[in-house]
Point group: D2
Chain length 355, copies 4
Amino acid sequence: MTKKRAAILGSSGMIGQRFSHMLDGHPYFDVVAYCASDRSEGKRLSDIWKLPDIELNPSLGSKTITVTDAAALAKEGVEVVFSGLPSEVAGPVEDACAEAGLAVYSNASSHRTDPDTPILLPEINPDHLAAIEAQRQRRRKGGYIVTNANCSVTGLALGLKPLVDAFKFTDICVATYQALSGAGYPGVSSLDILGNVLPHIKSEEEKMGSEGRKILGGFSNGRFVDAPISIEASCARVATRDGHLEAVFIHHKDMPDADRIAKTLSEFRGRPQELGLPTAPLKPIIVRREQDRPQPKLDANAGEPARAKGMAVTVGRIRVGKDRLRFYLLVHNTIRGGAGGSVLNAELAYREGLI
Amino acid sequence: MTKKRAAILGSSGMIGQRFSHMLDGHPYFDVVAYCASDRSEGKRLSDIWKLPDIELNPSLGSKTITVTDAAALAKEGVEVVFSGLPSEVAGPVEDACAEAGLAVYSNASSHRTDPDTPILLPEINPDHLAAIEAQRQRRRKGGYIVTNANCSVTGLALGLKPLVDAFKFTDICVATYQALSGAGYPGVSSLDILGNVLPHIKSEEEKMGSEGRKILGGFSNGRFVDAPISIEASCARVATRDGHLEAVFIHHKDMPDADRIAKTLSEFRGRPQELGLPTAPLKPIIVRREQDRPQPKLDANAGEPARAKGMAVTVGRIRVGKDRLRFYLLVHNTIRGGAGGSVLNAELAYREGLI
Amino acid sequence: MTKKRAAILGSSGMIGQRFSHMLDGHPYFDVVAYCASDRSEGKRLSDIWKLPDIELNPSLGSKTITVTDAAALAKEGVEVVFSGLPSEVAGPVEDACAEAGLAVYSNASSHRTDPDTPILLPEINPDHLAAIEAQRQRRRKGGYIVTNANCSVTGLALGLKPLVDAFKFTDICVATYQALSGAGYPGVSSLDILGNVLPHIKSEEEKMGSEGRKILGGFSNGRFVDAPISIEASCARVATRDGHLEAVFIHHKDMPDADRIAKTLSEFRGRPQELGLPTAPLKPIIVRREQDRPQPKLDANAGEPARAKGMAVTVGRIRVGKDRLRFYLLVHNTIRGGAGGSVLNAELAYREGLI
Amino acid sequence: MTKKRAAILGSSGMIGQRFSHMLDGHPYFDVVAYCASDRSEGKRLSDIWKLPDIELNPSLGSKTITVTDAAALAKEGVEVVFSGLPSEVAGPVEDACAEAGLAVYSNASSHRTDPDTPILLPEINPDHLAAIEAQRQRRRKGGYIVTNANCSVTGLALGLKPLVDAFKFTDICVATYQALSGAGYPGVSSLDILGNVLPHIKSEEEKMGSEGRKILGGFSNGRFVDAPISIEASCARVATRDGHLEAVFIHHKDMPDADRIAKTLSEFRGRPQELGLPTAPLKPIIVRREQDRPQPKLDANAGEPARAKGMAVTVGRIRVGKDRLRFYLLVHNTIRGGAGGSVLNAELAYREGLI
């Protein structure tokens, strides 16, 4: 198959930079435009780079940022757009792209609740991709939007999927320890977080519930059907750079033992693993047996092979009590829970012939 | 009433320093000995001071540390001992003091599970003090040990008490964000916690369950009766100095609305408030209505008057869902959850004529 | 003497909040207006409070922020204005106040280089206050502006003053470890500083040289004469909240020994100590003999009595080598190096009959 | 040439782990023993791994730690030993190895002041290697010890070398911002460093002076001759993980302009570059022109190719004033300033036929 021409929107932001890195040398997509607002126009990627864990390669660093223009992108033969736009501005820009005939893979929340827009998480709900058919019909030139989920719910949903399927529980509580990169740049003031925890992240708890139900739910007869589960979250920001840690509590009668839980998680594979998608981790869920894992510093980048670093969720400290299961879970918030999520979505679509 | 002569054990540690500060100029107790192991013998309090938030007053700073010797303390007329010893060594030393006829108020966990030793939290279970009668009889010279609870469960139990009484639920989950001072000094390595979260604290989760049930339970016919509640905890260490933050989840049918919860918490008063104990906070539970409170940095020292700083628990973000109550709670781990807990215990005993 | 009616400009910022706290219950000044931009209009101080080390008293917290209006302030009988405005906007606003007849005590850099505006540091150059005479004449209604120095040079100049006078050196190098609060709020992004040091602070190094020379210089025949010294600085930001630490290197032949240096620093007193100004520290320079002091966490608030907390500079690790003196110095950047500096300036002026 | 069998001493520590990583798959050396004290005996490298920036490869992680035994190592055909032992214990252990005929490349300070032991820094003083001849003669079986320099002075000496050679100055001051990994593990208590700076590091300032003079000095007629320079340091610990930042001040008449300084630094090459040693960075000194570099987070790992990551020193903010040069310099303290230094030393010796 031939490579598709791609553009990145919001390429000056934290998610945009992850897109640039993850799509560099990608086997399916060829990024021809790095777009952002006119504030960054003309800058090179090396000027705006904020990811200390990534050594920016010189050829990527020299790319120049241009101003987003949907029509121009379409004219240049771009077929797929990766959007790392902040949710405040993403809505109309992504719509404009879709109307111009582009396939939009978005990290923004703006369209996640649209009735014909999937929140795609390929290991969980690859069938939701069918929803784009309706979009392609209503939009003038066959474009469409597919979103990835909120960073926190991405990790949670991945960790829950094999367990919900196997053990049929419905009642989940979760407390999060979320990293600073989740708030973008400049994001959280250092004066607010130095030696502190901030026990509130705007809209996060609501999203974890509603998006979780949509992702884990079905798609049939042209509509999404929420999963019959309750996710009650308490979300806090801590002084870590990358990787959202989550303390998960599940209530259920007849919970199996910890070994069976671990096995169920470890053996989980989904459609991306079946297809061997380039950014798919060989094992989407890694179970650690050590007492003090997962840790953001040590486990945020979990995932193999190299292209899938940060795409695996790590689960640890599985404890089963009476009617209760507890564990900690870690997800890289700007890779699996951000740019990487949309890259994997686009890879699935490419292989399904939808890009 | 006359002041009682007192000694502090473990006075070189984090809890010991809090004892020294809280008992400085205390109306009931007169500290005449600051004890520690021979490693600190002869040092002055100013040499070992590690509490940046406390300006050590010069007269206190000049006190000299001596080696613990139960018999000598008794001979010098000491009647009450405050123990900030690490749990690894506290057991036999505290026993020796009690056998020497001293009243021991301890922060260590060593004796918390003894069948005639109360885990006292005066707003909750002042009646548990009756348990010391059995101890005084079995010990040679009428001494006894009273413990305060583990730091995390102290805050949780205080926050739960008025709610459990009013609404009769039994099912509690809690995820903690615990401060560094809880691990003592030197405690957590900076290399482990810089930009990280450690999702495991030895024995902490077990203590929250077992101590919580004992504290919130009864004492009758000479024995402790556990409360019929389940507390399932997931405990993590974060890079804050003081103040354990806790995300609490309560499952219950017919949960009242958030305003009623807030009112129930705010209006709670216990025996220490009735008696006007010197270290008792006027309001043991402070409810914050802001979206982003409590925060360790802003709320750890909650409590009035001045002597009760750090003795109030702060509750915020009360959210009531279907069959579920969530809130965040903050407790100063080395004041209310440590030295201050035992000071308040001793104040109650003093007023009850037990010291 | 009667109290003077005062206003605070920029009262929503970090320096403004320090002004509010330091002027609360002040014996000379009565703050009647807390001003800021219209973005904060109508908010209470408790809504915008960002100083975790200060327990905001309820009566102060309930003060309402109003929009700055020089004419209105003058009409209400305000005589003195404390400006915590950011330097980008301070220039014209402070000028308007001075033109309206108000005495402006400013923390902003906007007017520090004006030829008839002193950078006042009362222990060092109380005679520079004479410069306002020229201002009062050129301005329509007798108002004037007096500035305090940049935070870093304030500490350095205080530490240098007694040494320069005694030992007549001219050649100073300094490397700084500056706190986050120096950049205001939200200031430094947490993503930039977590586990990092930023080796550049805009304009800081230049100010240390030029302001240092002006402060330590003379005022005669109506003009400022720079001190014949060189201050070469390298300024970096570190992850501390308050307190700029500075590594000072002085080159000089015939440097006396460390004890004499320590004695010279310790015994230094200035005009504020002579007059017993309310915010003057009894000892403006505190010398610590411990090996590991000063530390921001332990020493930023140095100064006695209570009203002078954060007004003393701490010096430690005095080492004298061949032709070289080295020491570390710490100054609270938003108290002595900020709001407190201007409060002390105004106190001096009040006692000199200039307010 | 054939690969030499090698052992690592102190392999459970921070430096030992860097050795293990840097020597994994090394073209000259084949590590056959990972030694440590009996406390770590039998553990695998994966059990003790503390380097979050390094993904431990499984084959390396499975290596088992054995107890150090010089004679046994010699018997197993080990010829070269890399010592990451703490200085408190290194002295006699390294001596025993040298006496057993082994070539010891050490990061410990124990032998740095020995009159026939070089502090080797191959870009600066490859001729100092000649000093081992005397050692081989006095030791029974022809073994010897070569040390690398203290972490802070390594970076400084590299940055100074081309400038001292070109511009002949003698007077250097330096203030450091040192990373936590420099203190080993567990090292600095999190309670000491959270939101703080510690302005004292034991013996560090003395070492910078004495080691700097030895390294930059000569070796002739069988003895080391100190360079005629003065290095006066003020050393502080900050909350960064890796990479010592240093503010350097040089006094000199007729200092050239910043561009010439930058060019002199950038173009510097030494013997390792000539020989193309595997761990030699192509450019030992990288000059950054941005205003806010070097930063520990962004620049600690500077150096190409992949094997030389962390081996280049980064210099930035070059400012030339009257008679004064200032710049910031960054060195990875456990790579170039630690294990990497000794690896490069051994590579040089291997190529010179001395191993």
